[in-house]
Structures are given as C-alpha cells and as structure tokens.
Symmetry: C2
Subunit: 121 residues, 2 copies
DNA sequence: TTGACAAATGCAACTAAGTTGCGTTAGTAT
DNA sequence: ATACTAACGCAACTTAGTTGCATTTGTCAA
C-alpha cells in the first residue's frame, strides 16, 4: 500500500523539471528529515521511477527515469548540467568483449565534463 | 625537493601491478596514517603519476597513469576489475556538441559494469 | 659535522554523506 | 471506531575525506 504523501508528490514534481539532484540539495528545499529523503529516493529507484547519476563528486544524484538513457555535460566552472543524447550503441563492442573475455555488460556510466557556453565567454 | 620515501616507493610499486585501488584498501596494506595516504595520492595525481577512477561506490580509486586512457569492466558480483581499451574517439561528437551547444568537453568518465566470466559459470 | 630548512608524517578533531534502529504520527481499510 | 502499516523524525552511528598543528627526518650548505 503506497500512500501519495505531500512530500512524495512535491519531490516528484520538483524532479520533473530539474536536472540530477543530490540529497543535500533536496534537503535544502524541503523541510523533511534526510532519512526520509534517502528512503524515499531508494524506493523510487527500486520502483524504476528514478535513476542514479554519479558525477564523482562524493554525492549521488537522482533523476526522473522516464527521460530515458542519456548522459550529461557537466560544467566544471559553474556546475550547470545539460542533458545530451549520445545514442551510444556499444552493442558491437559489448559482443566483442563478451567473446574475448566472457564479461557480460549490464550497464555503464558515462558523464562528460568541460566548460559550458556561458562560462567560455 | 621531493624525497624518495619508503612509503612512496612501496606505494608506487604496489600500484604498478594492481588495478585501481581505494584509500581504505591502501590503508589495510600499509602502516601509514590515512592522512599521509591522501596527501601522497593528491601529490601523485597532481604530478600526473596517477589518475583518479570513479566506480560510483563512494570511494575514489587510483591507478598508475602511464597505462594511458582506458576503461574498466567492473564485476558487480565479485568486484573484480579488468582493463579494457575502447579506443573511444568522441572527437566527432565533441565537435558536434561544441557547435550545437558551445560546450567544450575536456574529459569524460566511462566505466562498464556487469558480470565477469568466472561469476557467470 | 652541525645547524637550518623543508619535506614527510602522525594525530586529533572535524565535516559531510549515508545508514540503522526505534519510537511516533497519520492514512487507509474493514 | 479500531486496527494495521506506511511514512516520518530523531538520535546515534559509520565511513570517506579534510584541516591544523606538532613532530620527525632527510638534505644541503656552511
């Protein structure tokens, strides 16, 4: 029995029109305990509603999963994040790797870093 | 003036014939304080001797940089790590991204996850 | 060789992300 | 109205990583 709590609604709404968000960031915007946030996110990931993003800065980020598989352009100057579709088809290489090494790839993590337009000017 | 301390030598030797290693892992094998390890690794990264690897499990790993740019096959069952050369040439796509978005890519992080041969059997 | 300087290390204390156990609040079904 | 349980808060904890400071130690120059 899943309840449609105010926080759950608000969180999903918030995530709808924002990029990948970290727990500390959510904690600043909502007056709920961090434990609640972690548990909520864990559940939403489990149910396939959210996907975990990792920018390697020591905190995980979460994003609406329905956006589909894509990657991010992370500006290292202003921390802005843009979505990018690399239509990365590794299937040939994955097949190759399996034949050579017997390793079955189930997922990958690819994020791109650099300098965004406004930070270049 | 950089000194060739015993720990420095031993650490580099250790890293030579091992995959990406985390600070906790180093801490288990050497009787030096963790602060020393962090400072040592920071210096070695700065001097281009080591490169930072991120598997998204909450701890950074470090690897001899002279191995050149490559990626990893991380087994999610036994945590083994194999190196893989994807000869990833994103230059076309990077050019495309720059023209469309004005974003200049300087680096990327790509790691592959799945099940290794021995864990499949 | 000795004194001085800087690199290297240890240590305690701290921050920050994330986890766990437990007790309480509050929807929901019967 | 009652009973059940999802949801929540809170305190305490773990772990990665950082910082300031004092101490040790290697190296160089007099």
């Amino acid at each position: 029995m899943v309840r449609n709590t105010p926080f759950r609604k608000a969180l999903l709404m918030f995530l709808q029109d924002s990029g990948p968000v970290s727990v500390p960031a959510i904690n600043e915007r909502f007056s709920v305990h961090k434990t609640t946030i972690y548990r909520e996110l864990e559940m939403l990931v489990q149910r396939g509603k959210l996907s975990e993003i990792d920018f390697g800065d020591g905190t995980k980020r979460f994003e609406i999963a329905s956006k589909g598989h894509h990657h991010h352009l992370v500006c290292e100057r202003c921390d802005s994040v843009a979505e990018i579709d690399l239509h990365d088809d590794f299937s040939d290489q994955e097949q190759n790797i399996f034949e050579k090494l017997g390793f079955t790839i189930t997922r990958h993590n690819l994020e791109l870093f650099g300098v965004c337009k406004s930070c270049t000017l």
